[in-house]
Symmetry: C5
Subunit: 330 residues, 5 copies
């Protein structure tokens, strides 16, 4: 069910409550209002946004559509933003991404999101104790929420980097198809991340250049800072993508190496055993006239011939450098 949390700043006093505070704010005018709406339902949200606040239908649509990428639209009397955040459950395959829609004006901020968002809850909880959060206007409040959303990328990227490094290590130890599978999943994760990070970076760049109507000039530096963070995030994403490609290639090479080693074992073995088989076959022939068969030490002679052949071949392999490598595992 749609959950509405409202926070009102009136004459320096903070009141937190539900939808009823909206009426108080409309009545009393000038104070600051922050409405946070979770799990929005179309039949509740559209009347609120379109009728009560007169927001444009396209903004309301984007608020409800789950896949909208980060964007900024200027409407008369308010700014509309879409931001995106991430969740850190990347190892479970399918890092979840979150969407935050925000309507910003001189004296209100409305945030809408489907799932519980840590960033919103944290800011909400800090409101009573941190006077600066509301005191600097709704744009500074928005900055604080987006700041947490942006910074949530870092632990996720650290985990991805760690996963890639672990995978590389595993592959060098024992390359298995399951590693490839994991790599492709990580690749999809990072691609999904990249798809939303690049427009978010551009969005923050746009805001920090002063394009948004209701972000105060003295707060632009804060959004510039967020842009710098997003820039670092998207650079890191590119590094990881490159490392993943390298890992994929390394996988193939490791397997090729292993096949190579197996082939060596087989070849060395066959090269030694097949001539021995021929030798013993020769003395197993049933010709009437085979002098060796009647020698006193014919048998020893045959065994000696076999030993000589084996040693000669082993030396030949050592000279070619094949045998030294076999001491390494796989």
């Amino acid at each position: 069910m749609t959950a509405v949390r409202a926070t009102l700043l009136a004459n320096g006093t903070i009141r937190q409550g539900g939808a009823e505070l909206i009426d108080a704010w409309i009545r009393d005018g000038d104070d600051l209002l922050w409405i946070d709406i979770q799990q929005p339902e179309e039949n509740v949200l559209e009347p609120l946004l379109e009728e009560r606040f007169g927001f444009h239908e396209l903004a309301a649509e984007d608020t409800l559509s789950p896949n909208t990428l980060p964007k900024y639209d200027a409407f008369p009397g308010y700014d509309f933003f879409i931001f995106r955040a991430v969740d850190v459950n990347v190892t479970e395959h399918g890092s979840q991404t979150y969407k935050l829609a925000a309507f910003l004006s001189r004296n209100f901020l409305i945030t809408v999101h489907r799932d519980t968002m840590q960033a919103v809850d944290d800011v909400c909880n800090r409101l009573p104790s941190d006077a600066r959060l509301l005191g600097n206007g709704p744009d500074f409040l928005l900055y604080n929420i987006v700041d947490q959303m942006v910074d949530a990328h870092f632990p996720l990227l650290d985990r991805i980097e760690e996963s890639v490094d672990d995978l590389q290590e595993s592959i060098f130890k024992d390359a298995r198809p399951s590693h490839l599978d994991e790599l492709l999943h990580l690749k999809r994760d990072i691609n999904v991340l990249r798809r939303q990070s690049v427009p978010q970076r551009e969005l923050l760049n746009q805001i920090s250049r002063g394009d948004a109507q209701f972000i105060q000039r003295q707060h632009l530096i804060y959004f510039r800072d967020l842009y710098d963070h997003m820039f670092r995030i998207s650079e890191t994403i590119d590094v990881e993508r490159d490392m993943m490609s390298g890992t994929m290639e390394a996988y193939l090479s490791v397997v090729a190496n292993r096949t190579n080693d197996i082939m060596k074992v087989l070849t060395i073995l066959s090269t030694i055993m097949l001539p021995l088989t021929v030798i013993v076959g020769v003395y197993g022939m049933n010709f009437q006239h085979m002098p060796e068969l009647h020698w006193r030490y014919g048998y020893l002679f045959a065994l000696g011939l076999m030993a000589t052949t084996t040693v000669t071949l082993l030396l030949w392999f050592r000279r070619r450098g094949w045998i030294g490598h076999l001491s390494r595992r796989r």
Copy 2:
């Protein structure tokens, strides 16, 4: 045969009919006219467009040529657009793409397309019941058609994504050349899609910046929204292209892994059997003086030697970690 559907808005009344409404519109002047032409034939279309409406010969040519990419041309008195849509039959290989040519002015919209287009039919059917469609001018009508055309990409992309994921899964189970074949077909599909999506995105960007003459300012935001959708589409296309490359590389690695496993089976087997062959060959030799042959338990001794050799080699393979892997299928 060329099919012409005309819709006329005169004094708030909607009339739907054939080519005869064009004369009524020319006679009565100011009303809004939408002409939709399907399966255009050169000998019918050119007189209509060039002579009746005085459109430029190049626009008429582009309207007929099947491969024109999305574009916008400003002509005196009217705007000319090419949009492209897609059909969802991607799994059948050869996702069909559609072309919509549109002539837009203050009081008319002419749309031309070869095949039946869902988007046009839907808007046409909604006309009687939805007053906003015609009430907001021909540019808003065009927006409604293009909106459906753009959104038709999403189910197609979802199917491609699904196909790629399925292919990956199949490849990890059992990599076969037919998977590669399918992958290359998907690759061509996505490349064809990309070739038309990028210019369409740029076209919508251009329109949303207000470059078209007959798109009203208050409707720019709608085309901006379409641009956002096309942007998301082209980002998704890039993600899928990247995933396809990854899948191709994975295929090769999976096959290499399989060859590796087969080689192991062969090598283990040969390593065990070839020495046994030598042993039995030794005792099949016909030397007169071979003490073992006369031993009471010579035969048992030989079998014991063979068993010992086998066990020793198996232990050696287990120590190298080759045998554990063989329990996995292929």
Copy 3:
């Protein structure tokens, strides 16, 4: 030998002839002159261009140099263009590319090319019958030539696409090094094409924006149309380049698959035959005390043992799924 064809439009009358018309044109002033020079020789061309018409030495140089890429230079009193066309002999490896140099002014057009060019000949032949060609000025004449040159790319690209598709099909049937060879040749062809198409696209973009001095405003739309075609051409080139890369990767995978299948045959065979060899070897040993040798049905027992071993191993391979695949050819 340098061949000069001149066409003169004087008071609505067309005269076609050789170099002597140049004098007539210089004498009589205002008429339109088109000179087409084929197989230019330095000692003939330079006096004509530099002395007679006073063209810049660099333009004359570019006219003679065979490798100049598409470009536009504005000189006082005339425009200088280089365009490039293609020939369709791509399957013969080495699609030839052509160069057309053009000097354009208010009342003359001079085209220079080394080889016979279909586009020039066609326009030349249409001159007597199509009044619009000369009637719209020399820039429209140039448009008509370039239009044919640009459109000549499409059949070539269709053939390349077809070749790539055929190659893919052949590779899936029977991957041979000659396919790779052909692929690399196609790759060089498409790269050569791309190298001249991108600057030609940019040149046409520049012209269509109105940068050239002697292209009349009302004809810009025609060059815009050529730009759209070149844009489609360069997009198609990129798609084909991507498909070629994919084909190269597929080739490797197909060969890997085949090796895999061959290995399976070898492994299955060895796995069955080597144990049989050991069994028959055992009963070929010459020990005095081997009870089986004296059994009544010893021979049958041995054959039975061999059959049992074979069947057991075949069942094991079927369980691993190796044998089902062998029914497919290669």
Copy 4:
């Protein structure tokens, strides 16, 4: 512990000391002050920067955060920069990168860094002997520090290039998985380097265009020079990345070649030995009626048959060109 080194230029006299010089500078006004802070602790740094100098909290934060990328922020009354340098320990895997934060005004420079930095120490030591360092203002001082930081990239890149070349050589001699491992580490190193070099290049470009408030016009050329160096660095990074990709591909090919050679040895050997085994097996059969067994020179005949077979096969292999290659090692 936070270490503070202060340098004061008062009436042409240089004084070096600790934090106490800050008070002198504040009291006496116009002189130039350089404060270098090493190993900053939050509880020491923030009061100093935010309270004493009134720097913005975001600048103070960026100063402390270890991962900030190169950037420039203009604040009223001072410029804030982040530069990054590198350490040359690349062969140990994990080339360390350093961060230098700098606050610049008309009459002071404050540099903050966590680790000992060679560039800062060198400039510090040259101060007494080189009058130009302080005489040209704090921006020239900053230039001298950054100059050394930038130039520290070159020996590192030389070492990376050398490592890549060595790796290639090693791979051609004996491709081992450890080479791949090293290559992936180098790849991560160069990617990390690239991630910080590109923004640093852009930062220096921005400064050299005159965007910073407190860089004097006559010193812009020096920063332009740094930009040129950073440009060369980032180009070299791209070359090395490309060489690494090539090396990865070469690795795979070298291993494939080696497997190929091993297979040849195995195939040649088996092709010769298996027919010999059959021949000796034939004359080991126990049929009562085998004429050869009773021939006088039956044994010699059999040996001759084996020799003939061997020579024939060897000649066949030589004709196919397989044997010439085997003389090469591995």
Copy 5:
């Protein structure tokens, strides 16, 4: 040792000599002076450049540093350029690149380079006979030198293209690791070339737009022409890079094909020989009761069985299409 060649144009008379002409020029003022300095030594060059001509220390530094990339710096009273040329010894691995530093003003040109440069020598030798070289001012002189430097790329690129084509051909004949080695060397060559060509192209673009102070307007077209050449050069470089990647991939595929063919030989041989070994083994068994051994034509029966087996297997291989391929060499 530093070699100084000076050329003085005074009242239409050309004087060539050493450093002493500099004094004459300084004394007599208005004439044109070209100083060419080869193998510059720091202790000779810096006094000359910095003290005599008052050039900026950074320009002097760039003149001496061997790795500076192409660049342009405007200084009060003179322009400073770095250009780069190439030598054609690419097949020896390590195509040498040259650097030319140039100081240009209204009435002087100073060129500095370490090695003998063909372009400088040629222009120097043409001076007495070609009045235009000096008559058009020092910028035209510079153009003539750079023109030769730029055109020196073409034979080099032709050789690289030829090398790549030769390599491809060799690889299809007989893929050896030495081909890979050569390919990687070519790759480094082309990358080094690319690293200096792209900034040189941009430098010439900048000059041709009229950014340099002392290039006369009427000569811009000449530098535009150089830009066109550099553009073609960098496009060709990109084509070759792409062809090299393709060649690398082809190499791998060719080797894979070859392994495949070798495997086929081995498999066919083993498939035929192993069953024969079993058959002869069977009749070498020592059972007392083996009826075949006593047959009149038992031996012939066994030989017949072997022949039948062989023929059957050969037919099976032909049906699978394995044997047709073996007639091709390797």
